[in-house]
């Protein structure tokens, strides 16, 4: 019975991957856009999971990295008319650099200190990008409108490659010594340090990798939106939704964010169509309910039920 369920799971995974690869070729524009948004949120959830899932450092400011990536890409296309693949990668590079700078002081903090400091980092970045001091670079509150001139399919496959890379990196981390060390930090940081683990360096590495993928996904998404401004780019919903997705699928797992991202983006699409005003409240309720009733997430629960092999690889 359980073997059958495991095989069904594998088949579903392959079918899902195949569907995502052919989506823009066979679906109409509306469904292909939904598929694109699913990929976008998987990229955000999976990149959030790289730091917060493996090290247990809850990042409430993930939108900051996504936003910095969006701005980097938008500015490099609008002002410097760089070739689009370069500007996409610049999005990731700028976000990673930003994480490195912010991480040095912020990752000295633990638990709630870190969580709320990151909330403040995201808000502070948003305010900073909107002030007149940054106006020559960011156009302050006016935002930047630009036309990258890339087809939808190019953006779609760019996002697909980003997701594939991000999941592959998560897989590599979870099966490597690096990942084991990160998980040791999550379980007991003091004990890990006394075993000779340089926790600061490891946390900063994970933080930077996490920010790189968020920035890359943000950069690609900015060419999809053709517009960036402080309010929409650093909106707290881009922190909330990926967290709920990762918690739903299973924090600290490889495929959890993929499951959470897919299921909840379909739900999100439905919510937007039917309860536009309460779209965030639904996620608030969902987050609270998950923490109370299914704190380990769907995937971990399936592992407990032996429906999925109990291994860090999944």
């Amino acid at each position: 019975m359980n073997r059958l369920i495991k095989q069904v799971g594998l088949i579903l995974l392959i079918a899902f991957s195949g569907m995502m690869v052919v989506a823009p070729l066979v679906f109409d524009r509306a469904d292909a856009t939904l598929a694109y948004l699913i990929l976008y949120f998987i990229a955000l959830a999976s990149s959030w999971n790289i730091l917060s899932g493996f090290t247990g450092y809850i990042n409430f400011g993930h939108a900051a990295f996504m936003g910095v990536g969006m701005y980097a890409t938008a500015i490099s296309i609008a002002d410097f008319s760089l070739w689009w693949p370069v500007s996409w990668i610049l999005g990731g590079v700028f976000a990673a650099t930003f994480a490195l700078i912010v991480g040095l002081p912020v990752l000295r903090t633990k638990g709630p200190y870190f969580a709320i400091t990151m909330l403040a980092v995201a808000e502070g970045t948003r305010v900073l990008f909107g002030t007149r001091y940054m106006e020559p670079i960011t156009r302050a509150g006016d935002g930047i409108a630009f036309s990258p001139g890339i087809s939808f399919q190019t953006k779609y496959y760019g996002m697909l490659v980003t997701v594939a890379l991000c999941v592959w990196v998560s897989y590599k981390i979870s099966t490597s010594q690096f990942g084991l060390r990160l998980m040791a930090i999550r379980e007991d940081e003091e004990a890990a340090e006394s075993m000779g683990i340089n926790s600061t360096r490891l946390k900063i590495s994970a933080f930077t990798i996490s920010a790189f993928f968020a920035g890359l996904a943000g950069g690609i998404h900015s060419t999809f939106l053709h517009y960036v401004d402080p309010f929409h780019t650093f909106n707290i919903q881009f922190t909330i939704i990926p967290i709920v997705m990762a918690v739903f699928g299973g924090v600290g797992t490889v495929l959890g964010p993929v499951i959470g991202g897919t299921v909840l983006q379909v739900l999100n699409d439905f919510i937007w169509a039917h309860f536009l005003q309460l779209n965030m409240a639904v996620f608030g309720v969902l987050l609270a309910a998950l923490i109370l009733f299914l704190p380990q997430g769907l995937l971990e629960w399936m592992k407990e039920m032996r429906w999925v092999e109990k291994t860090r690889k999944i």
Partner: protein, 289 residues
């Protein structure tokens, strides 16, 4: 521009607004001290107090000063219910659970408020005008805020110092297991602390509605400020929160005067970053267990 009077002005104003932030921070610190939970929904209690006052005034014609007491009582019971039904279930679980749970509650409250109250910016224009105090023009609502904050914080100190329940709260924040062994109903103590924190936030929100603009998503600003303050003073230390709030108010007011008003929103982060690098336990930090 003559700099010295500007700085003097900003410092005096800073003490007044700092006392109002202190009222919010004390509650957050009390809750953290008793149950090691950072309540992300704390800012939403401020917002609810503010809107309670606003609608009491516009719809029912209730004097905003009376509304301060109403907000205090309503938020006390609201806090007690939230704690009993939700927060109590994650006590003793990893930090992730309580952070995520209160984050979820926070999102639910502000988004629902947004749907009901709309995102329009509102204010209670009750205490307009200003008075001269130590040679500085101070808005009357700042004076009211200072008075309310001083009164409530003094009452809290007396409560913690002299009553049986206050003693139970102090015992629980020192060591909840031993407190339980000594026959203290720590669950009731936690509910009381959470309710008091919510009540203080609500009354602060009520004064804020007479002082600044209010909108459904305002809670986060005050959470960030209150958190910066309790980190500055040391998590869980109530005197630390008070001194931290005065320093914070002065810093914010100075930034607003000397740079750009919007830059004052970056102050909480700047203070947090500095303190965390220089002295992570805060000025009066209690030892982590």
């Amino acid at each position: 521009m003559d700099l010295l009077p500007v700085i003097y002005n900003a410092l005096i104003v800073g003490i007044f607004i700092g006392s109002l932030y202190g009222l919010i921070a004390v509650g957050l610190s009390l809750v953290y001290g008793v149950m090691r939970v950072v309540n992300i929904a704390h800012g939403e209690f401020v917002m609810l107090g503010a809107f309670l006052t606003f609608f009491g005034w516009t719809l029912l014609g209730i004097n905003p000063i009376i509304s301060i007491v109403i907000a205090l009582v309503v938020l006390f019971f609201f806090g007690a219910i939230i704690h009993q039904c939700l927060v109590e279930r994650v006590i003793g679980k990893p930090m992730l659970s309580s952070l995520m749970l209160t984050f979820g509650i926070s999102i639910l409250i502000w988004n629902t408020a947004q749907a009901i109250f709309t995102t329009n910016i509102k204010a209670v224009s009750y205490l307009g005008g200003s008075v001269t105090f130590l040679g500085v023009n101070i808005s009357k609502s700042y004076i009211l805020g200072f008075g309310i904050a001083a009164l409530l914080v003094a009452a809290l100190f007396a409560f913690l110092k002299f009553t049986k329940w206050g003693k139970a709260i102090r015992a629980t924040s020192q060591n909840d297991e031993v407190a339980l062994v000594c026959g203290i109903d720590t669950k009731k103590v936690r509910t009381l602390a959470f309710a008091l924190g919510a009540a203080f936030a609500g009354s602060a929100g009520s004064v804020i509605s007479m002082t600044w603009f209010i909108f459904p998503q305002m809670g986060f600003n005050y959470l960030a400020k209150a958190f910066a303050i309790i980190v500055l003073g040391g998590l869980g230390s109530i005197p630390g929160a008070l001194i931290g709030s005065l320093i914070y108010g002065a810093a914010e007011s100075l930034t607003g005067q000397l740079l750009e008003a919007r830059m004052s929103q970056v102050v909480p982060f700047a203070i947090l970053a500095t303190i965390l690098v220089v002295k992570p336990s805060g000025l009066f930090g209690v030892r982590e267990r």
